[in-house]
């Protein structure tokens, strides 16, 4: 009875199942196909193409670092890589430049101390003339710029040089305090851009951008730095044996001299 029942159940199920029509095969398969396509993982770029992309990126970046040193300096470790390329690909000689951010510099015709100066045919003066701050202020009223922060150094020497009828160059030397430095102020001309050629095994060039002014620092041996920047319509040069961090407070404090 049991075996018969089992067999009967099996046959009954089999007969029932086998007479069920299956008309939706294509419809179901079409849905399955779509679902499988959606499940398809997005094709990742092959390792070969990834490598090619990395190489292109490196070459491109290196090119930028190589030809635009200032760009390199604005990135972390940019200078390191740039120097590396310089060393292995382009030697150690470097050229960097700083151009004035403005086109037309203000013209301030110097007031001549001696009437005979007024008749000098060639006003270009190659020698520096030592003078005092008061005298400079009277020669160049309202256009002299002095540092307010000097770290206790005092103005030791003031000199000027006439570079043309309208062009001036003033050098102020400070000594005796925590730092010794000199500040040069000169009229900006069409050729006022600063260009430095140096060997990067001995020196470095760094750029600092602050309050809209770009300062170019040339770091030589023995902590000797030279900073160049354009401000108030003049080109300034700061020279001293100190660090950039020490120099910046002095540079920032430069303002128009009022006797």
């Amino acid at each position: 009875m049991n075996d018969n029942l089992d067999k009967s159940i099996h046959n009954a199920i089999k007969d029932d199942i086998e007479k069920i029509p299956f008309n939706s095969s294509d419809k179901i398969w079409s849905r399955i196909e779509n679902a499988l396509e959606e499940l398809e993982p997005k094709k990742k770029p092959s390792f070969f193409f990834t490598k090619i992309a990395v190489v292109i990126f490196l070459v491109f970046t290196s090119g930028i670092l190589l030809v635009t040193p200032r760009f390199a300096d604005s990135f972390p470790f940019g200078s390191f890589f740039r120097n590396l390329f310089d060393q292995y690909l382009a030697g150690t000689q470097r050229n960097v430049g700083l151009t004035p951010p403005f086109d037309a510099p203000p013209s301030h015709k110097p007031i001549m101390l001696d009437p005979t100066d007024a008749v000098v045919i060639n006003p270009v003066q190659e020698e520096f003339i030592e003078t005092t701050l008061e005298e400079l202020a009277s020669i160049y009223p309202n256009i002299l710029y002095l540092p307010q922060e000097t770290f206790s150094s005092r103005l030791n020497k003031a000199m000027y040089q006439k570079l043309g009828e309208d062009n001036i160059r003033v050098v102020l030397a400070y000594e005796g305090g925590a730092i010794n430095f000199s500040l040069t102020q000169e009229t900006v001309s069409n050729s006022s851009g600063v260009g430095i050629n140096y060997d990067n095994q001995d020196a470095e060039v760094h750029f600092v951008y602050e309050n809209g002014i770009e300062y170019m620092f040339f770091l030589g041996r023995y902590n000797i730095i030279t900073a160049y920047w354009f401000q108030h319509g003049y080109k300034f040069t700061f020279f001293g044996n100190l660090t950039i961090d020490q120099a910046m407070p002095v540079i920032r404090s430069i303002s128009r001299y009022v006797p």
């Binding site: 029942l5 159940i9 029932d16 199942i17």
Partner: protein
């Protein structure tokens, strides 16, 4: 999809039988289609785990049974009005009166159709697919002992129905 060709081949070979079995249990064409769809998607995702392709139909049937059982629970089809006992007189009488003149096989078919879908699934897996009790227990997530007692209960239920039919038969 790397297994698409293989799945297509399996679909052509086994989809009809799987659909028929599933439809037999759930009695709903759209639900059965859904279960077949999900079965082959799951198969595509797990085809790497198949070691013995001679038993691939058994493997697909297991997936379909799992899906069917999941769908039954989800749609609560396990709670059909005719559920626990065929001893329900109204059902028995109705069933009996309708099949009284039919052959034994047809009588059993009627009796089976009165079973709730989860019992029907269990019966189908056991009598038609002839799956081992251990595998059925896995599908139902219950111990083998529970499956045995359920099968025993369903058989007794069917027997009762058949006896009644026999008693009232001319």
């Amino acid at each position: 999809m790397k297994h698409k060709k293989k799945i297509e081949q399996l679909y052509l070979q086994f989809s009809k039988r799987i659909f028929q079995k599933v439809y037999y249990i759930v009695k709903d064409k759209y639900l059965a289609e859904e279960i077949v769809h999900d079965t082959f998607i799951k198969a595509a995702l797990n085809l790497d785990s198949v070691r013995d392709f001679d038993k691939i139909e058994w493997w697909l049937s297991r997936i379909a049974a799992n899906q069917a059982y999941y769908m039954l629970r989800k749609t609560k089809l396990t709670e059909l009005p005719i559920s626990e006992e065929v001893k329900n007189d109204a059902v028995d009488e109705d069933l009996t009166s309708n099949i009284i003149k039919l052959e034994t096989k047809h009588e059993i078919q009627q009796a089976l159709s009165a079973l709730p879908p989860d019992d029907l699934l269990l019966i189908t897996l056991h009598y038609y697919d002839q799956l081992p009790l251990k595998d059925i227990a896995n599908i139902f997530e219950t111990p083998v002992g529970t499956i045995k007692s359920r099968l025993f209960r369903i058989r007794r239920k069917l027997q009762k129905t058949l006896h009644k039919i026999e008693r009232v038969s001319p």
